[in-house]
């Protein structure tokens, strides 16, 4: 089976979600990578994770990836190199490419997957629903290429020891009006400490904190534990913290060694983003809060009492 993996670059390296998919793809068949951007800087890491070939569009010159990269992929596919399956990490960029490509090829897309299996040409993907308590397996019908999006952290990234991938140019054809949106400026939100989706400890706060100023408790605790602060969508929507802090279905997926949820109810959309944590500690004043259903340690209490004491105890160590 021929499998393509959509690789996304960030600061000159493939994103961890891309490497996870390359690793999984290796177990399914021959792997080719495709990047919307320059290939040279990524070739080594991509090759080490199992792809022999890396198609690269070259710099997009400010064009949004969706229309441009999907058109480049379509051109390669119609030129004769057609994969059986294309795996996309679920990022903002890759989601646009995946969607545009599905229309161009007239193929169905399946997203939010956490696993994939291939048997005798049939490809089946697995998606958690209802906050992760039910797993649905769906099999693609008809002919490939089958298009599938995967949640970050669905697989562990492991190098295979391969050499650098061969970079092959995949030019972007003229796409007409669909490609008219241009990026005129890029803003990077600075964060200190470990990245939310890579930290060994994540401390998240929710609406139970009561007010924005109290989020400081979360930041202080995260710092003491050398972890990253996170948030529920309720307080992101309220403007207390930037969107980049959000954990959950529409935010980041985290799988730290320890996840502390303070004043978070445990809505299904929050839980899908943190359920894979090794250890979960919840602090909530409502003993019926759903978060306690998945907590290894639950403290039924007021965050305004528990957090300051916890911080004090850690500071005095």
């Amino acid at each position: 089976m021929n499998v393509w993996v959509y690789v996304q670059g960030s600061k000159g390296a493939p994103t961890s979600a891309s490497l996870e998919l390359l690793t999984k793809a290796r177990s399914l068949g021959d792997v080719t990578a495709f990047v919307g951007g320059d290939g040279a800087a990524l070739a080594e890491a991509v090759g080490q994770h199992g792809a022999a070939k890396l198609y690269a569009t070259g710099d997009l010159g400010g064009r949004l990836p969706g229309p441009a990269v999907s058109a480049a992929m379509q051109a390669v596919i119609e030129g004769g190199d057609s994969p059986d399956l294309i795996m996309f990490p679920q990022s903002y960029e890759a989601r646009d490419v995946l969607s545009r490509l599905s229309v161009k090829l007239g193929k169905t897309v399946l997203t939010n997957n956490v696993d994939v299996a291939a048997a005798g040409g049939a490809v089946t993907v697995t998606t958690p629903i209802f906050g992760g308590n039910t797993l649905v397996s769906t099999t693609f019908t008809g002919d490939g290429p089958f298009l599938a999006g995967f949640r970050p952290k669905s697989f562990a990234a492991e190098p295979s020891g391969g050499g650098a991938a061969e970079v092959v140019a995949a030019a972007v054809p003229e796409v007409g009006p669909t490609g008219a949106a241009m990026v005129v400026a890029t803003h990077v939100e600075e964060t200190s400490g470990p990245k939310l989706d890579e930290a060994a400890v994540v401390v998240s706060g929710g609406r139970g904190l009561g007010e924005q100023a109290k989020y400081e408790l979360i930041e202080t605790l995260a710092k003491l534990l050398r972890g990253a602060p996170g948030a529920s969508r309720a307080i992101v929507d309220a403007g207390w913290v930037p969107y980049s802090y959000q954990v959950g279905q529409t935010g980041k997926v985290v799988k730290p060694g320890v996840y502390i949820a303070a004043g978070i109810s445990g809505a299904t959309q929050h839980m899908v983003g943190m359920k894979g944590s090794k250890n979960i500690i919840a602090i909530n004043k409502d003993k019926e809060a759903p978060i306690f259903g998945i907590a290894d340690l639950g403290i039924v209490g007021d965050v305004h009492k528990v957090l300051p004491k916890l911080i004090e105890a850690l500071q005095s160590r």
Binding site: S10, L64, G66, P67, S70, Q90, E93, R95, D96, L98, S99, S102, V103, K104, K107, T108, V109, L110, T111, N112, T124, I129, T134, L135, V136, S137, T138, F140, T141, T178, G179, A180, V183, V184, A185, T186, H187, E189, A200, R233, Y243, Q249, T250, G257, N279, I283, F292, I294, A295, D296, L297, G298, I299, V300, G301, D302, V306, K309, L310, A313
Partner: protein, 258 residues
């Protein structure tokens, strides 16, 4: 300026979801409501039309059983009219078919300067329909827009990225998908609710729109299994008696985090 907003009518997310045991699709037979995620798009459309000083907001929706309750909510907020695609043949449609149906409905209204959708629905959250719709319509798009302005015939938007945001410019007509919280959706007024009752809802089938195949026949996918996920072992839940913090400290000590 004319804006068309795609709105989904969904089962109340506050109620527990269930699968239909014969088709393994989400049950959508009860009363449906306006997806809260779409209320942001409706509000943004109303504000943009208001700022432009003319034009109107129209709605397109695909829903079973001629369902209009959610559409009435959006009409009560101030939208002028709606096209509802309702057809038993659409059951089992995949995201691509949904995009094709919505594109045909957008075409039926015609004359849109801007098409708005939510980044994803609250019940299905495939998250691909807006960009698929843009491709079917042949439009440029800005997905995950968190701030939007219209400057003449140019759309200026901030677009969410993994580590911050991009400023994007795009000529109209275009499509955008908006994230929750971009604007504060208004509550329909009593007058709005009364007026909504007589606003036109053009109900059509997939056949009327000339979209074929649809439903299971058009979907390139088949559900092969539904299983319970492995449960986490029950943890220790304790009432805070003033010493709850110490429990956490020793839990962290055991894990050698501290």
């Amino acid at each position: 300026m004319n804006v068309i907003v795609c709105v989904k009518q969904i089962p109340d997310p506050a109620l527990p979801g269930a699968l239909d045991s014969s088709t393994n699709t989400l049950k959508r037979d009860g009363k449906l409501i306006l997806d809260e995620s779409d209320s942001y798009g409706v509000e943004m459309a109303l504000q943009l039309v208001d700022k432009a000083g003319g034009g109107e907001v129209s709605l397109v929706s695909m829903a079973p059983n001629g369902e209009v309750s959610g559409l009435r909510t959006a009409l009560a907020m101030g939208a002028a009219k709606a096209v509802l695609v309702s057809d038993p043949a659409l059951q089992g449609s995949d995201a691509l078919t949904t995009a094709r149906v919505l594109a045909a409905a957008v075409g039926r209204i015609g004359g849109a300067d801007l098409v708005i959708a939510a980044t994803e629905s609250s019940d299905g959250y495939t998250g691909t329909v807006p960009e698929q719709l843009a491709e079917v319509l042949g439009l440029p798009s800005v997905t995950f827009a968190k701030h939007v302005e219209i400057d003449g015939s140019t759309l200026k938007a901030s677009r969410q990225t993994e580590d911050g945001y991009d400023e994007v410019e795009c000529p109209l007509p275009a499509l955008i998908s908006v994230t929750a919280g971009v604007v504060e959706p208004r509550y329909p007024s009593f007058k709005g609710i009364m007026a909504a009752k007589s606003k036109p809802v053009d109900t059509v089938t997939a056949g009327d729109l000339g979209v074929d195949p649809v439903g299971w026949a058009g979907a390139g996918q088949q559900i092969s299994d539904v299983a319970k996920a492995p449960e986490r072992a029950a943890g220790e839940i304790v009432e805070d008696d003033g010493e709850g913090f110490a429990k956490i400290v020793s839990f962290l000590e055991n894990l050698k985090v501290i």
